[in-house]
Each structure stands twice: as structure tokens, then as C-alpha cells.
């Protein structure tokens, strides 16, 4: 006789914690509940594994889950083309007055702007955005508050040093692929990041192709699409990013 059968006790799990565990494919039995009577709370689930991890073994599915659990990270991807004409003209005009900005700076600012415009996405932890550099990340906090000039100087400083912000919280990582005439179709999420934006600027800078990858457990598909739409709008009407 299986001893475990006799010892089975009903796990006390808050509905939200149960949902998070189901979505992330996490085994509830392995969790220590911090709530009253050992009830497993959302914080306990979040604390176990912060990143969606593929789980294939049916043994560790939540036993109470009646619905068939899909033990895989729930990824979603959204593509968009960005018209860069207006931005290019604006950057050129600024350059003529001695103020130089790269598209990297504008993309960081536009991503923060999209967070501010999409309340559900904003709840993922605010506006810190991670810029992917070679083998490391630089996280920019308070992007909306600082001037674009100081944002640029912070970015240039980050490029110069060697430290890695991969452990710092940020909802989004931003990857600029040095490939023109390429449309990215599939990009994995980075650990700890619920969203990843990949951008390929076409030769000549007239337009860019971008791909937004998201973890649907953290962000609803509709909210993700709204976020991308907000980003596209900000890039294509760039003036407000500079004020």
C-alpha cells in the first residue's frame, strides 16, 4: 500500500497562488505555505522560481488541477513594423543643434512611455528597462523622469563599464539586433524578464522590424499587444518623447 495515500492532506492554497502555480507548471506539494495554517500564498509561489520553467513530467503537476495542465511556459509573440522617418528627421534636426541621440536612447524612452500608457503592463514592476549588451544587461530605472540627455550619458557609461544587471528587477529586456532586412520571428525570454523586445533597424534607418515576446502568466496578451501599440505610436510620433 502506498503510504502517501493514507497521509494525503488537502493542500491549503489561495486561489491566486493556485492559479500562478498552474500557469507556471509548479508543483504545489513542494511549497511551504506562509499563510495561516500553512496556506500557500501567491508570494510563496513567486518566491520558489521567479522564472517560468518548462516542466514536462506529469508527476509534479498540481494534483487538484482538474483541467489538463500544459506544462510549458506560456509565451506569446507580437511583431510590428516601425516607420522611422519622423524619428530620423527629428534626430537629424537635433544633431544640427549639437544634440546627438541614438535610436537606442529613443527606444529606452519609448519602452518606458509604453509602460506608462499600459496600466496592466505597468504593474509588472514599473518602468525599469534592461538593455541587452554583449553577454550582459544594463538596467535603467526612472527612465521617464530623467532627461534624454542624461539617459544617453547613463547608457554610454554602462557601455563603458563591465558590470552586469541581469539580477536587477526589470520587466523588459531590449535587444537591438545589428541585422537589417531581417524580421525576427522567435526570441526566447531572458531569465527574470517577463517581456523582451527585439528590434532590427533596416539599412537607411527608414523603418525597423520588432518582435515583442511575453510571458502570458505575467502579462495578458491583450495588454501586451496594447503595450506594443503604444511603443509603435511613440516611436512614430516621437516629439513627445523629447519633452
Amino acid at each position: 500500500m502506498n503510504m502517501a495515500v493514507g497521509q494525503t492532506r488537502r493542500l491549503a492554497v489561495s486561489p491566486y497562488a493556485r492559479r500562478l502555480a498552474r500557469e507556471r507548471g509548479l508543483p504545489l506539494e513542494t511549497l511551504q505555505g506562509s499563510g495561516p495554517g500553512g496556506r500557500i500564498l501567491a508570494a510563496d509561489v513567486r518566491g520558489l522560481v521567479p522564472v517560468p520553467t518548462p516542466v514536462n513530467s506529469p508527476d509534479i503537476l498540481a494534483p487538484a488541477a482538474a483541467a489538463p495542465s500544459v506544462a510549458a511556459p506560456r509565451m506569446a509573440a507580437f511583431a510590428a513594423s516601425l516607420a522611422l522617418g519622423a524619428l530620423r528627421d527629428l534626430l537629424a534636426a537635433l544633431e544640427s543643434t549639437g544634440k546627438v541621440f541614438d535610436i537606442d536612447d529613443v527606444l529606452l524612452r519609448a519602452a518606458a512611455h509604453a509602460f506608462a500608457e499600459t496600466s496592466e503592463a505597468a504593474m509588472l514592476g514599473g518602468t525599469p528597462v534592461a538593455l541587452e549588451l554583449a553577454g550582459r544587461q544594463a538596467v535603467f530605472a526612472a527612465v521617464p523622469q530623467v532627461t534624454l540627455t542624461s539617459l544617453r550619458s547613463t547608457r554610454l557609461a554602462a557601455l563603458a563599464d563591465n558590470h552586469d544587471d541581469a539580477e536587477k528587477p526589470a520587466a523588459l529586456s531590449l535587444r537591438l539586433l545589428p541585422a537589417s532586412e531581417i524580421r525576427p520571428l522567435m526570441m526566447p525570454l531572458l531569465p527574470g524578464r517577463a517581456m523582451r523586445l527585439t528590434v532590427c533597424v533596416a539599412a537607411g534607418g527608414g523603418h525597423a522590424e520588432c518582435l515583442l515576446t511575453t510571458d502570458t502568466a505575467s502579462l495578458d496578451e491583450a495588454a501586451a499587444a496594447a503595450w506594443l501599440a503604444a511603443l509603435k505610436s511613440a516611436i512614430e510620433h516621437p516629439l513627445r518623447l523629447f519633452v
Binding site: P15, Y16, R19, G35, P36, A42, A43
Partner: protein, 796 residues
């Protein structure tokens, strides 16, 4: 003027009305009689659902009164009101279809026999509530006057209503307002089965008018011309602005109280009935027309009768052929759709504001709306020149005058009924009841009349009045002046319930309420009357059903309305020190309830605490918590909590009152408890004392199964005419065959008594449905027969 005098007046009078008028009175009485007779048969066959109260015997009153009325005058009626509906001009086929509960009925099948309304002919409802319509007629008259018309309101009611507060309050209010109204008491001597003489020491109802300083006239209610004469004078008086009149029409119903009720019963004798049948209003008038007035002969009257016969037959066919209402429409016509008036749906730019006190802001709102709409009337106790007990109507009387800022007697039922009647006929009204507790003095008008009007009429009518009250606890106001009761009102489909928490919302909701299509219960927390806040300058409407996020936060959602909002905000500020950011949602209107805003907040915070000034039992806390279970269960990281005022009446002693109410400290602790996963445990069920009691016995099995009603439409096989146990009283389901007066093979005549069946309430006489030969006795003496069941057959 006595009944006898009325007749004397006529005999010598040369002013006999036109022949057409006299013949029309006859025709209408025949219509009422034949219609009711057909309805009676349909009821016995089980074709009409529900109760049926017939007007047979009282036709002269309804016809004599309504002959003076225009379609733009309104009559309010009683449970015995088919005759009033027809006399006022309602289409017989559509009235019959309504009795059948069919889609072509005048109320689309939602009203039925006791709730017949027809705006096109001025029929303000038959009414299932005794005396409820009397005050409506007062408001109807005042509404017409305010709109510059000389239309009047006429209330029919029975002798039973003359001992009801609704009668006294309405007559007094009407008299003092010189309301263009006529009150017609159909004294048929019995309130259901209670003799008038046994319930009053003054059975002369007409004399009660003297108490209110208005003329009272008693007439022979079976003499249509006497009624016609009395009503002529009363109508002219009302139209001329001289005030209301009470007419007592002494009459008699020659049928039971309702179908299935015995004609004689235990309360009246066969001799009395026979005496009144000899005074049948139609027979009496027929004789007068032919013999006394000489305006018609038997042939002319027979032509009229055969024409009416055709009308009622067509009405019956129309009703039978009309489809049933579509069950998919059952949810329609509870509220206006959209529930918000256009003004409240306008997008508004955030503009200039100014700091205002609560009372001033709401006063401004009312004044703005009264300037914009001259048909707004404000009824209240001391709200006129005095400016209201809370100074909440200060200066309005000075600007709008006593005709619009109407100072009322302490007659909540009377003036709220008037508010219902006025608001349903083109005016808009505020019924200011001073304290929420006082609303129960007129609960029937709010719950049974105003709230249901739109639904009963399938959306053709509504009562867009505002019930304005000061609500909630305030410094030892005590048990009768402290309640808020919003869950009680919100329970009733058809009522909009507002509990504002800021001067801006109070003004904006009041302005929206004064443009809305439905009755609004405006519960203004007295504790906030002294509060100040930023109020938008200019037109400012707050839509119903849109919550306000009073404070944003990510850790827990607190739902609070009225004076609890400020307590919740104070608690939220205290909790910041503990690292807790609470979101405070102010629903602003309890009905409609912006549940979406609460769900959206819980999706963010995953925790919920409802804080409400009303009591917990069947209350807002349970309602919202369960809604979250249903709509956002997977979002909950802790059981929702609720904090309500303790389940006691409001004590007077300040220390006791403080112990009863929810305060900031309790909210802070409640938030901590919910976050800790252990919400406050309520104890409002009062079951503690029962815990040790013996286990409840299982419910006993029913003594015997209810007999199954036979399908109404399924004909019994055979070529004979079935004799059936008639449908009748709704509370009786079967009867025992007591006697067969005929044997198989006997010849029987249509209408002849052939059997008797005894039910729990009475002996039912079974008449032969057709003439012929009794060919079958299916149910012998002693057999128990369900209603509608076949007991035998007759071959023609």
C-alpha cells in the same frame, strides 16, 4: 347632496343630456358587464393565470365617472379595475389579452388583471395594493397643473381603502394643495369579506371629506345618471382649480370577492344579494331609458347589446390568439436602457472647481435642474420657506415659490404617492423624507409602485422621482434617525440607489437623478453635510454605476461608500507606515453597482475588504465578496473580509454608538487581518444560542402529493361537452364531489345547477356548460377532483 336628492334634481330638471350620452352610458355598462362575464368563464376554464376580481354589479360607477374624462385625464384604480380600464377607453381585446398574460395585452403580459396601465387613454393602473392609487391621482393633478393643463387625476377605491392611511394622507394633501383631483369611493359594503360597519363607527364615507375641508357627496352608485351628475360637478370643480371632491358611490358586487370565492360566503345573505340584483345598474338604466326618459326602445338597446356581444367575442378571440410573451424578454424593462440620462454620459473635461460645502453643492444642483425644467416639483416636510431641517433646501422656496417647493403635511405615504403620480405623468419630483428611516412610512409607494411601474407596463411608463433623505449615523441621532438601509433599497429591482461621499458626487448624482428615467433613492450621509470639497464649476453630472477610485494602491482593495470612504482613506494612510498601499474604491451608487471596477482592483491587489455602514446580514459585504468569488476567484490570495456596523439598532449613548460603528482603527485592523489571510469573523447570524439545541428534525414528508393539474388545453376524448371542476381560487387545488343533482340520462339546461363540489374554502356550484343530456358521471360523490378536472359529460 344625497343620492335621493340627486334623483329628485333630475326628475324636475329639463337639462337631460343628449340622447347619445345616455345611450353611450348604457353601451359602456353593457361592455363592462359582458367583458367581465366572458373573463369569468375564461377564468373558470383556467385560461387566465392568477387571481381575477370582477366588477360585475358596479358598472354604473366606473361608467358614470369616466364619461366626463378626457384621454389626457388619468384614473387610478383598484384590484377590481377591469371596468375602470374599459370605461376609460382601453381596448377590450388588449385588456383581455392582458388578463390572459399575452404579449398583445396592454402591458405586454407583465402587468395582468391588477396592474393594467395604458398611457394612451389615461389609465394609471389597476392596483393590487389597497389605497395605493389615491395619492397617485393627487400627484397627477398637480403635475398637469404645473405643466399648464387643466387635466385631472381621478382615484377609484373601495370602502376598505377608506380606513387606510393612504386615503387620509392623500385626501388631506390634495385638499390643502387644492389638487385637481376627484376621489371616487366605490362603497360595495365589504372589504373582501369584512363588513364596513364592523370596521368603522362612521360608515358614511362621504362625510369623511369634512375632515379635510373638501366637499363629500354620496350617490347611488348603481344609478349611472346619479353618478354622472355628481362627477360632472366634481370634474368642473377640479378643472376650475377649486380643489378636489370626494364622491361616495354606494354600490354592490354581485359576485364573490375574487373568482373562486363564494358569491355569498359567510358574510352576506342570499336575501341581501337578491335585493341588490333587483337594483342591477344595467336593468335599472334600461328601464329608465325606455320608460322614464323615453330616449330608446327595446330594439335600440338590443342592437347595442348585440354589437357589444361581438366586441367581447372578438376580444376573447384576440386574447386567445395572441402569443405568449417571449421568455427571453423577462429581463427587459427593469430600468431605462441606458440607465443613465444623456447628460450624464457626456464626456467632460476636467475644468475649474471651487470649494463648496455639501449642502450648498446639492442645493445648487437642484436649483440648476429646477431652472432648466419647470416641471420639477419638490415635496418635503419643512423644506419650503423654512429651508429644510438641515438647511438643505435653503433659498429654493424663495426662488421657485410655494407651488414648486411644496411644504407637505407629515404624510410620507401621501406625498410620496403624489410624487409617483406626478413623475409618471410628465413632471419630475423630489420626495424629501428628511431621514432614511422615514422611508418605511411610505415603503409601499417606493417598492411596490415606483420601482415596479416600468416593469409592470413593459417599459411604457415609469416614475422618475427622487427620494431624498439624510442617511446614516451622526452623533447619537438614535434608533429612529440613524439608519442608511441602502441594501434594503438595492434589493428591489427598479430602484437606483446612490450613496455619495463627496460634495461633488452628491451634486453630480442629484443632477443626474433629476434627469433619470427611474426612481432614485438618494441617501446623503448626514455625517457629511458639514464636509467641504472641490466641486466642478458649471454643469456637472455623475453617471450611475461608475465607481470612483478614491485612492490607488496595490496591496488590498477596500470598497467603501458614503461616510465610510473617509474612514477607509484614513486607514489607508495609517497603513502606509506598515508598507501597505490600500486601494479605496467608492462605488458611489449601490445600484447599479460598478462591480467591474472592483474586479479590476482585485485583479491588481488580490485582496479585498468591504467596509459598509449598513448591516451585514444579506448586505453589501456578502454581495461583493460573492461577486468576486464568481468573477475573480483565481485572483484571490486571501479570503475577502467585511466590516459592517454592528447588528444592533442605533443606541443613543455616545459610548454605545461608537462601539457599534466601524471606525478607522477597525478598518486598519481589518486590512491587517485580510492580509494575514484571516479576515474579521462576523457574528451577525445570532445562531450561537442554538448550537446546543437538539438537531433539527428532518422536514416531514408532505401529507399527500398535490394533485396534478390537468393540461388546460388538452381536450378529453369523447364527443360530449365536459363538465369540469372550475378553476378559481389560487390557494385551492382540489375539491370533493358532494352531490350530483342530476343522473345520467337526465336532460339539463345550460346554467342549470347539476353538482356541488366542496373545497377547503367553499361549496362550488357546478352549472351545466351547455344544454343537452347528462351522459356521463366520471367522478361519483366522495371523489376528490383537481381543479380543471373533468367530472362528467353532456351530449348536446
Amino acid at each position: 347632496m344625497s343620492a335621493a336628492r340627486a334623483r329628485e334634481d333630475f326628475k324636475g330638471a329639463p337639462n337631460l343630456p343628449d340622447r347619445e350620452i345616455l345611450l353611450d352610458l348604457f353601451e359602456r355598462m353593457v361592455l363592462l358587464r359582458r367583458f367581465e362575464s366572458i373573463a369569468q368563464i375564461a377564468c373558470r376554464k383556467g385560461e387566465t393565470p392568477g387571481f381575477l376580481h370582477l366588477y360585475i354589479g358596479e358598472e354604473a360607477t366606473g361608467v358614470g365617472v369616466c364619461a366626463h374624462l378626457r384621454p389626457t385625464d388619468w384614473v387610478t384604480s383598484t384590484h377590481r379595475g377591469h371596468g375602470h380600464a374599459l370605461a376609460k377607453g382601453a381596448n377590450p381585446g388588449r385588456v383581455m389579452a392582458e388578463l390572459f398574460g399575452k404579449v398583445d395585452g396592454i402591458c405586454g403580459g407583465r402587468g395582468g388583471t391588477m396592474h393594467l396601465y395604458d398611457r394612451s387613454v389615461g389609465l394609471f393602473g389597476t392596483n393590487g395594493i389597497v389605497a395605493a392609487g389615491i395619492g397617485h391621482a393627487v400627484g397627477i393633478g398637480m403635475s398637469a397643473r404645473q405643466q399648464g393643463r387643466d387635466d385631472i387625476g381621478v382615484a377609484f377605491f373601495g370602502d376598505g381603502a377608506a380606513n387606510h392611511g393612504g386615503f387620509h394622507e392623500a385626501l388631506n394633501f390634495a385638499a390643502v394643495q387644492r389638487a385637481p383631483a376627484v376621489f371616487v369611493c366605490e362603497n360595495n359594503l365589504y372589504a373582501t369579506a369584512t363588513p364596513l360597519k364592523s370596521v368603522t363607527l362612521n360608515p358614511e364615507i362621504a362625510t369623511k371629506a369634512a375632515s379635510y375641508g373638501m366637499p363629500g357627496i354620496a350617490v347611488d352608485g348603481n344609478d349611472v345618471f346619479a353618478v354622472w351628475l355628481a362627477m360632472k360637478e366634481a370634474t368642473e370643480r377640479a378643472r376650475a382649480g377649486k380643489g378636489p371632491t370626494l364622491i361616495e358611490a354606494k354600490t354592490y358586487r354581485t359576485v364573490g370577492h375574487h373568482e373562486g370565492d363564494p358569491v355569498i360566503g359567510t358574510y352576506r345573505t342570499q336575501e341581501e344579494l337578491d335585493a341588490w340584483i333587483k337594483r342591477d345598474p344595467i336593468d335599472m338604466f334600461r328601464k329608465k331609458l325606455v320608460q322614464e326618459y323615453g330616449v330608446a326602445d327595446a330594439e335600440v338597446l338590443a342592437t347595442i347589446e348585440s354589437r357589444i356581444e361581438k366586441v367581447v367575442e372578438e376580444a376573447l378571440t384576440f386574447a386567445r390568439n395572441s402569443p405568449e410573451p417571449d421568455p427571453a424578454t423577462v429581463r427587459l424593462h427593469v430600468f431605462a436602457d441606458p440607465i443613465n440620462p444623456p447628460a450624464a454620459l457626456q464626456p467632460r473635461a476636467a475644468g475649474e472647481t471651487r470649494t463648496q460645502g455639501w449642502l450648498e453643492a446639492v442645493r445648487d444642483g437642484i436649483a440648476e435642474e429646477m431652472r432648466a425644467n419647470p416641471a420639477i416639483l419638490y415635496f418635503g416636510e419643512g423644506t419650503g420657506e423654512r429651508g429644510g431641517s438641515f438647511a438643505h433646501t435653503r433659498n429654493l422656496w424663495q426662488e421657485f415659490g410655494a407651488e414648486r417647493m411644496v411644504d407637505t403635511p407629515i404624510s410620507e405615504q401621501g406625498f410620496t404617492a403624489a410624487a409617483v403620480g406626478a413623475s409618471a405623468t410628465g413632471a419630475r419630483t423630489v420626495s424629501d423624507l428628511m431621514f432614511a428611516d422615514f422611508a418605511f412610512e411610505t415603503a409601499g409607494q417606493i417598492f411596490l409602485q415606483a420601482a415596479k411601474l416600468r416593469y409592470m407596463t413593459s417599459g411604457l411608463m415609469s416614475a422618475p422621482m427622487v427620494v431624498r433623505v439624510g442617511a446614516g449615523a451622526l452623533r447619537s441621532s438614535g434608533p429612529h434617525h440613524s439608519g442608511i438601509y441602502h441594501p434594503v433599497f438595492a434589493h428591489m429591482p427598479g430602484l437606483i440607489v446612490c450613496v455619495p461621499s463627496t460634495p461633488a458626487d452628491a451634486k453630480g448624482l442629484m443632477k443626474t437623478a433629476l434627469r433619470a428615467g427611474d426612481p432614485v433613492i438618494m441617501l446623503e450621509p448626514k455625517a457629511l453635510f458639514a464636509s467641504k470639497g472641490e466641486v466642478p464649476v458649471g454643469e456637472h453630472y455623475v453617471p450611475f454605476g461608475v465607481a470612483r477610485i478614491a485612492r490607488a494602491g496595490a496591496d488590498i482593495t477596500i470598497v467603501a461608500a458614503g461616510q465610510m470612504v473617509q474612514r477607509a482613506l484614513e486607514a489607508a494612510e495609517t497603513l502606509v507606515a506598515e508598507g501597505v498601499e490600500a486601494e479605496v474604491i467608492d462605488p458611489r451608487t449601490i445600484m447599479p453597482l460598478d462591480i467591474d471596477a472592483i474586479v479590476a482592483s482585485v485583479r491588481k491587489t488580490h485582496r479585498l475588504l468591504i467596509v459598509d455602514e449598513a448591516w451585514a446580514m444579506c448586505g453589501l459585504g456578502g454581495e461583493i465578496a460573492q461577486a468576486i468569488n464568481e468573477l475573480a476567484f483565481d485572483e484571490l490570495d486571501a479570503p475577502p473580509g467585511r466590516l459592517h456596523t454592528a447588528p444592533t439598532s442605533h443606541p443613543f449613548a455616545p459610548v454605545l454608538e461608537r462601539a457599534m460603528l466601524v471606525d478607522t482603527a477597525r478598518i486598519v485592523q481589518g486590512v491587517r487581518d485580510v492580509i494575514a489571510g484571516q479576515p474579521p469573523v462576523p457574528d451577525h447570524w445570532y445562531t450561537v444560542g442554538l448550537k446546543s439545541a437538539a438537531p433539527a428534525k428532518p422536514a416531514p414528508a408532505p401529507a399527500k402529493p398535490q394533485p396534478t393539474l390537468p393540461a388546460i388545453s388538452a381536450p378529453i376524448a369523447g364527443d360530449d361537452e365536459p363538465i369540469t371542476m372550475p378553476f378559481g381560487d389560487l390557494t385551492v387545488s382540489e375539491g370533493t364531489v358532494m352531490k350530483w343533482l342530476k343522473a345520467v340520462g337526465d336532460a339539463v339546461k345550460e346554467g342549470e345547477l347539476i353538482a356541488e363540489i366542496e373545497t377547503d374554502k367553499a361549496v362550488v356550484e357546478i352549472d351545466a356548460p351547455v344544454s343537452g343530456t347528462l351522459v356521463a358521471i366520471d367522478q361519483p360523490v366522495g371523489a376528490v377532483v383537481p381543479m380543471g378536472g373533468r367530472i362528467g359529460g353532456i351530449k348536446k
